[in-house]
Amino acid sequence: MEATIALSLDLKGLSCPIPIVKTAMAMKQLAPGQLVEVFATDPGSVPDFKAWSKTTGNPLIESGEEGGVFRFLLKKKEVVR
């Protein structure tokens, strides 16, 4: 089943690391497997979200840009038993 987006965060105009911190905080509220989409304008957020996803194990499903706004789709990692 295709997962729906559980949460959308508008973090435009904020500079890193604020988008990372706000996303990390928001993700605490989600259940494993749920999706969060993030909108940001700081170009530094592209490598930062990529690295954050890799380090924390929360997969970065999509990453794109439209008209200077970056969109990231992240999935909360499944709990390892």
Binding site: C16, A24, M25, G44, T55
Partner: protein, 378 residues
């Protein structure tokens, strides 16, 4: 009749603007500064208090000694601002009216927002820095962990500077080999700015300072002695030093002048409130995405002062705007430092660490009292 210019807060920004407006308005403005303590504190010195290189008394002066004689000072806490009737309510119940208002109330630290962190050390307050030095003097080896518990925070380079000065301190005491220094960073590098990180990270490695990335402090367990991150990691400590969460002052929040964290929304070039007329904000007080530091308040001050003077005279706003200029020193230990300079249009640059930057910082710290508050340094 002279226009009433009211400034809430006698920090770097408030003091410079007060002096410049009083000096340059040719008697057309009367300036009043409202400050809760009446004591001007040089906050960049807290870092040195924490490692025993500075005394708290050297970092404080009466605000009256820094203001021109024709600026009035009211030592009282402002509790409410009404930007519609243009009145400010003070704690005593007294009300002050204004024609032009500058919000220069800065930021406050709120360690109690972090569960379990109430006894964690910090060098972000004068008392905290003094208490941290006492704890370091009693420290005889173990793990010292430095973490960040909220973004944004004042003086972004400070945690990195602290670990370098701490390394020097522990070596001088001959207990470095019995101690670990761990820096927990909000991003996957030592510092937000990539260019500065590249310069600093090899020095951290060379000094044996361990860097853990993507560790945004969420809570502390003071009984077990561990600190945990939003990212789900846990690190043990013997001595914990945290950068506390910051927010705007209560008067801003209570008056509905700021966002959900009490930061005042302003135009990033003119520093004018986005909603209310004849209201400006400066330095840490604003929501603009730039460092919270005295340096920013310093560079913004001449712009804000010129705008207030133009408003007092009924002239058009000046063409000169704030361009996002920031200049910080960053101590790298062993008597060396680097600098970080940037603005809205120019990415940060940092020279290789050298003794001359350390001496420049030391000189600035000493001459501050005679130059910056008076508006003598552009």
């Amino acid at each position: 009749m002279a226009a009433e210019v009211l400034i809430l807060g006698g920090g770097v920004g408030g003091t410079i603007v007060a002096n410049l407006v009083a000096k340059q308005s040719s008697g057309k403005a009367h300036v009043t500064v409202v400050d809760a303590t009446g004591i001007h504190v040089y906050q960049p010195g807290f870092l040195y208090v924490a490692v025993g290189q500075e005394r708290p008394a050297a970092l404080q002066r009466p605000e009256t000694s820094l203001l021109r004689d024709d600026v009035s000072l009211v030592v009282e806490r402002a509790v409410r601002v009404d930007p519609v009737t243009r009145k400010v309510l003070l704690e005593s119940g007294r009300t002050l009216g204004y024609d032009h208002l500058l919000l220069a109330t800065g930021s406050r630290t709120v360690m109690d927002e972090v569960p379990g962190a109430n006894d964690a050390h910090t060098f972000y307050t004068m008392d905290g820095a003094a208490r941290l030095f006492e704890a370091l003097e009693a420290f005889d080896g173990g793990s010292i962990v430095i973490g960040v518990a909220g973004i944004p925070y004042k003086c972004p380079p400070a945690p990195v500077e602290f670990v370098f000065l701490l390394d020097d301190y522990l070596r001088a005491r001959g207990i470095r080999d019995k101690s670990e220094i761990k820096l927990l960073s909000p991003l996957n590098r030592a510092f937000t700015i990539e260019a500065t990180s590249k310069l600093v990270q090899p020095i951290l490695a060379e000094r044996g300072i361990e860097l853990t990335g993507f560790f945004n402090v969420e809570s502390v367990d003071p009984v077990v002695g561990t600190v945990s991150s939003l990212e789900g990691e846990t690190v043990a400590y013997d001595l914990l030093v945290l950068v506390p969460p910051h927010r705007g002052q209560k008067v801003i929040e209570d008056s509905g002048l700021g966002d959900e964290r009490g930061w005042v929304p302003v135009d990033k070039n003119t520093l004018k409130h986005t909603q209310f007329e004849q209201v400006w904000a400066i330095g840490d007080t604003t929501n603009i995405p730039i460092s919270k530091s005295g340096s920013v308040a310093h560079y913004e001050a001449s712009v804000v002062a010129a705008e207030i003077i133009a408003a007092v005279r009924g002239e058009a706003a000046p063409a000169h705007v704030y361009d996002g200029k920031v200049m910080c020193f960053l101590e790298t230990g062993r008597g060396e430092a680097t600098t970080i300079r940037f603005d809205y249009d120019h990415p940060p640059v940092s020279p290789s660490p050298a003794r001359r930057w350390h001496w420049a910082k030391a000189l600035f710290n000493k001459t501050y009292w005679h130059t910056v508050p008076q508006g003598r340094l552009p």
